[in-house]
């Protein structure tokens, strides 16, 4: 750069100085802002339920608690993805007293590492309120409970009722009927199965369901727990069945977000979609949402049947050392009450209550149907990323499933690669 002549500095320098002084004062502000002391009546809550409906539902049940107990609840809402990405550090830092989270492996993992605290005391008041399986999913191997469950958003094959009626489609019960329906839909100019897996994790749903139907829930859970080889005929059969279904899927799933795939169902471009109840957020309330219907993922093997349901369970846990343990337990107990679960699930369209005594009379036909599937399920699973080690699920399986979707003819090589990576993560 070339030298320039000196500027007449008087005014400029003064304004610069003033600017710096002002900024100095501002720099001191964050320090001053930290001068508040903690109120013993306050309990803090971190929620990852960030949709407008979910926020409203959280406000409602927290409001009930505040009115009943006289405590004040400070809610911190984080978007779920960001929160998931920072959870490890979050729990080791200065976490809130109560934290919304997921049951299964993901609770067990933190319990074993001592990052969350035992809430079996709260469970004493919840005796008989939940099924034993739900209780197990909220427990660690030490037999104690670490989570109070509140709701679930189960998976099924969703479709528009009116579209099925107009075209005379029947809900398929078996693999053959399913494939036949797909072929009919294709002839009628529809995309049979909406598919969007750009985010990666949505691809796990199809693997889970095929594995559940072909190899049964027991094998499925053991496989995800690292007990079986991934380079096995069973796993290759799952990918094989998936490869046969792929032509019935919407093309190019890897570039399509899950919300976009759901939208094609709303717009009657696709016939069906394997998805969780959270699909309901995308359907405009009223006519469209009322038109939504579903059926269980069909049977692929008559001996295994089709009664295993993927029903990820959400709930609340207490941080390792809550600053206000009594109030935290009181809040957790409140979240486990029938009233709180009913109020919450009435507002959040994706959530079904888990309590056995929950009032189901207010359910929409769709909710009633899904709820029946859960109640009569032969087995409940969570979802691949909740039933397995998170590092395996996200770092190995997502790229592997994406690779399968772009090169479905290469199954043997794929399962061998998964197995190699599995060994390096799970150990021998």
């Amino acid at each position: 750069m070339h030298p320039r002549p000196p500027a007449p500095p008087g005014l400029r320098r003064r304004s610069l100085l003033r600017g710096l002084a002002g900024a100095g004062t501002l720099a001191a502000l964050p320090a001053l802002a930290g001068c508040s002391s903690r109120d013993p009546n306050t309990v803090t809550l971190t929620s990852n339920r960030a949709n407008a409906a979910q926020r409203a539902a959280m406000q409602d049940i927290v409001g009930l608690f505040e009115a009943e107990s006289g405590h004040t609840v400070e809610i911190n809402t984080f978007d779920s993805t960001s929160f998931q990405e920072s959870i490890n550090n979050y729990l080791q830092g200065t976490p809130d007293d109560v934290i919304a989270w997921f049951a299964g492996y993901r609770t067990r993992f933190f319990a074993e590492r001592g990052l969350i605290s035992d809430v079996s005391q709260v469970w004493e008041g919840l005796e008989g309120a939940f099924t034993d399986q739900v209780r197990d999913l909220c427990s660690a191997p030490d037999g104690k409970q670490y989570m109070v469950p509140d709701s679930t958003a189960p998976w099924a094959v969703f479709h528009r009722r009116s579209l099925f009626e107009e075209n005379g489609y029947e809900a398929p019960a078996t693999r053959a009927e399913f494939v036949e329906l797909c072929e009919r839909m294709r002839r009628d100019g529809l995309e049979p199965i909406a598919s969007g897996v750009r985010e990666g994790w949505p691809a796990m749903g199809m693997f889970d369901h095929l594995n559940l139907r072909l190899n049964g829930p027991e094998f499925h859970l053991e496989l995800l727990d690292g007990l079986h080889s991934w380079d096995s005929p069973e796993v290759r059969a799952v990918f094989g069945a998936w490869a046969e279904l792929l032509p019935h899927h919407q093309a190019d799933p890897l570039g399509r977000g899950i919300n976009e795939a759901q939208t094609s169902l709303v717009r009657r471009e696709a016939g069906m979609m394997l998805c969780g109840m959270f699909l309901t957020h995308v359907f405009p309330e009223g006519e469209d949402l009322d038109d939504l219907d579903c059926f269980p993922f069909p049977e692929f093997d008559a001996e295994i049947g089709a009664d295993a349901v993927e029903a990820p369970i959400d709930g609340f846990m207490a941080s390792g050392t809550p600053r206000n343990p009594e109030a935290a337990h009181a809040l957790l107990a409140h979240f486990g009450t029938r009233e709180a679960e009913e109020v919450y699930t009435a507002v959040d369209p994706q959530a079904l209550p888990l309590r056995l005594d929950a009032d189901t009379s207010g359910f929409s036909p769709l909710e009633a149907k899904v709820n029946d599937m859960v109640v009569n399920a032969g087995a409940l699973t969570q979802y691949m990323d909740r039933d397995s080690r998170p590092d395996f699920a996200s770092i190995v399986m997502i790229p592997a499933l994406q690779r399968f979707l772009s090169r479905p003819d290469d199954i043997a090589d794929l399962t061998a690669s998964i197995q190699r990576q599995k060994l390096s993560i799970f150990g021998q």
Binding site: M1, H2, P3, R4, P5, P6, A7, P9, R12, R13, L16, G19, L20, A23, G24, L26, A27, L29, P30, A31, A33, G34, C35, S36, N48, R49, A50, N51, A52, Q54, R55, E74, I75, N76, T77, F78, D79, S80, T81, S82, E85, S86, N89, Y90, Q92, G93, T94, D96, A153, I258, N259, V266, R267, F278, L279, H281, V282, P284, D288, Q350
Partner: protein, 295 residues
Amino acid sequence: MTATTLPARRRRRIRPARAALHAFLLITALAWFFPVLWAVINSLRDYDYTTVHGYLSLGGFTLDNYANAWTQGEMPVYFANSLLITVPAVVLTLFLSSCAAFVLSNYSRRFNLLMLAVFLAANLLPPQALLVPLFRLYTSIRLPYWISESGSLYDSHMGVVLIHVAFQIGFCTFVLSNFMKAMPTSLLEAARVDGASVFQQYWKVVLPLCRPSLAALATLLVTWIYNDFFWALALLSSGDKMPITTALQNLQGAFFVDYNLLSAGSVIVALPTLIVFFLLQRHFVAGLTLGASKG
């Protein structure tokens, strides 16, 4: 000024070239601006409408997204947090890096090149890679409670400010030291002759001359620091301390994103950086006239 004394004949001859230049700029600028415009148009539409009719339709226009983003996103609180992080971080970065650049560009070159490399290389490191050790460091630095409610550097605005400063010093020092090296040494010599101390030389002679450089860096720093949500998310745990960019993410749910609402929120959030750019752009122009007056 010499520029105005160019022969008029020359001016007229380049007219067609001018027209082509303007046409080129206009077309490129429109191409550049169009994606933003398209997003802004869609931020003005109702989500249910675009779900049913698709983004390629027109209709469903509403201002609700902006109103909802403002209230649902609780924006005033988070704007204040962003201010409390961005302003101190930018000022501190510019002050410290101009200090460092002053020393590095005027004293003992060998050692200083090494220091410059240390600063600059730090700027190149991937922040994600430092996350785990840094998190440990932050939770282990104890601070009195009157400074940080959490009792440590973790979960305090000060911690976020410091990491931004540490990361940005490198680039700013580099730019400023280049700038300072190009200054005539006679200025400093004269100040020394007048008995000015080292700090006075820096503060009264060099710093005022760096204004154009500082303005350009301030524009960039404001953009970077204000738009960052990585450090805030990693080093803050209280929702009420988050800056606006991180809080904006809270408009998305896990399984559902109302993109129209989110982009309305993003447009609101982008306004301060745009304003800063427009304000500092004027200073560039001022710096230009200063240089041209040499003639």
